[in-house]
């Protein structure tokens, strides 16, 4: 049982995602091919939207993989390929969206919301503690007055 579990764990550790790249697509030049592979993981397959074209078996993903390789072979830079694709399919084709005014909400929204929550919480706790302190002071004064009154009464009764 334990042995089977260990075996499973080992197998899952070394199992990598099934690559969709077909042997016929692979470039002869290993450097260009590795660039193409790296680039493909950043490009979204527009048919099966949460996969990169490197993972996807969709027909369009295959066309895009071939296009990426053709562009690299013809001397295009990595950024050049990404620019071309986003000029055709919009920023949506990039799995990592660029930082620009339109995507500020996407990139900085979470930090903004956190800062707002943090400020709000800090403000709340600060005021809360301040209020309880003031309250206890007042209570202490009241209590002191009461005590002195009681003591005074006691003084009158006791002699």
């Amino acid at each position: 049982m334990i042995r089977a579990a260990v075996l499973c764990a080992i197998l899952f550790t070394f199992a990598s995602g099934a690559d969709a790249v077909e042997p016929s697509e692979v470039l002869v030049d290993p450097i260009l091919e590795s660039r193409a592979r790296a680039l493909s993981t950043h490009i979204r397959c527009l048919v099966c939207q949460n996969q990169s074209i490197d993972d996807s078996n969709a027909d369009l993903a295959r066309d895009l993989r071939i296009l990426v390789r053709e562009r690299l072979v013809s001397g295009d830079s990595d950024q050049g390929v990404l620019d071309y694709l986003s000029s055709r399919y919009g920023d949506f084709v990039l799995l990592k969206p660029p930082i620009k005014p339109k995507t500020w909400a996407l990139w900085f929204g979470p930090i903004g919301i956190f800062l707002m929550a943090f400020t709000g919480a800090a403000f709340y706790f600060h005021r809360h503690r301040h209020a309880t302190q003031q309250g206890s002071d007042q209570l202490a004064e009241d209590e002191a007055r009461q005590i002195s009154k009681l003591l005074g009464e006691d003084d009158e009764q006791q002699p």
């Binding site: 369009l60 066309d63 949506f92």
Partner: protein
């Protein structure tokens, strides 16, 4: 005290704005990707003819009047669904409908046109998706409206139904013909 009460409304308002924003986001169809080419000139291309005796076309042919470009394939079921409406459009409309036969076998495409009818004034074939990628095509059918200056003004992803024709496509063509 009043300031405290107003301050308490700030996160509430922020939450409501975010909720409305996200709710609106849920209503949009994630499969429809807005075209990056709206108001851009048609990409440079030249497609060979599909049907013998009928011309293919390229970006140089898309000038001087409004054009409709429809991307289709014989293996595509939604194309079959929109086909009768395309026939209607071609019969009624004053603008030419050009077709791009996308990732298809010419023989299959020809058989398809013979069976259902041919609404296209010209058809170019793009079996390897070379021009399709330039247009940002990611599925069929897609329909583009090109203005007289050769700019893409509208893109419809998926079949054109009579409502879309009547409410969006025909009014836009009328506007563009002005």
């Amino acid at each position: 005290m009043l300031a405290g009460r107003v301050l308490f409304l700030v996160p509430l308002t922020a939450f409501l704005i975010l909720a409305v924003y996200l709710w609106a986001g849920l209503q949009s169809d994630p499969r429809v990707i807005p075209s990056a080419l709206i108001d851009q000139p048609v990409p440079e291309f030249e497609l060979p003819p599909l049907v013998p005796g009928k011309l293919g076309f390229g970006n140089k042919d898309l000038h001087g009047q409004v054009f409709i470009i429809n991307i289709f394939a014989s293996w595509c079921l939604p194309c079959r669904v929109e086909h009768p409406f395309l026939m209607q459009l071609a019969a009624q409309s004053t603008v030419p409908v050009y077709g791009i036969n996308w990732k298809d076998r010419p023989a299959d495409a020809l058989a398809w046109l013979t069976e259902l009818g041919d609404p296209y004034a010209r058809i170019g074939k793009d079996p390897n998706n070379k021009v399709g990628i330039d247009f940002g095509v990611y599925g069929v059918p897609e329909t583009y409206i090109i203005d007289a200056e050769g700019r893409i003004r509208f893109k419809q992803v998926g079949p054109i139904f009579p409502e879309i024709l009547a409410e969006t496509i025909l009014p836009l063509i009328r506007d563009l013909q002005g």
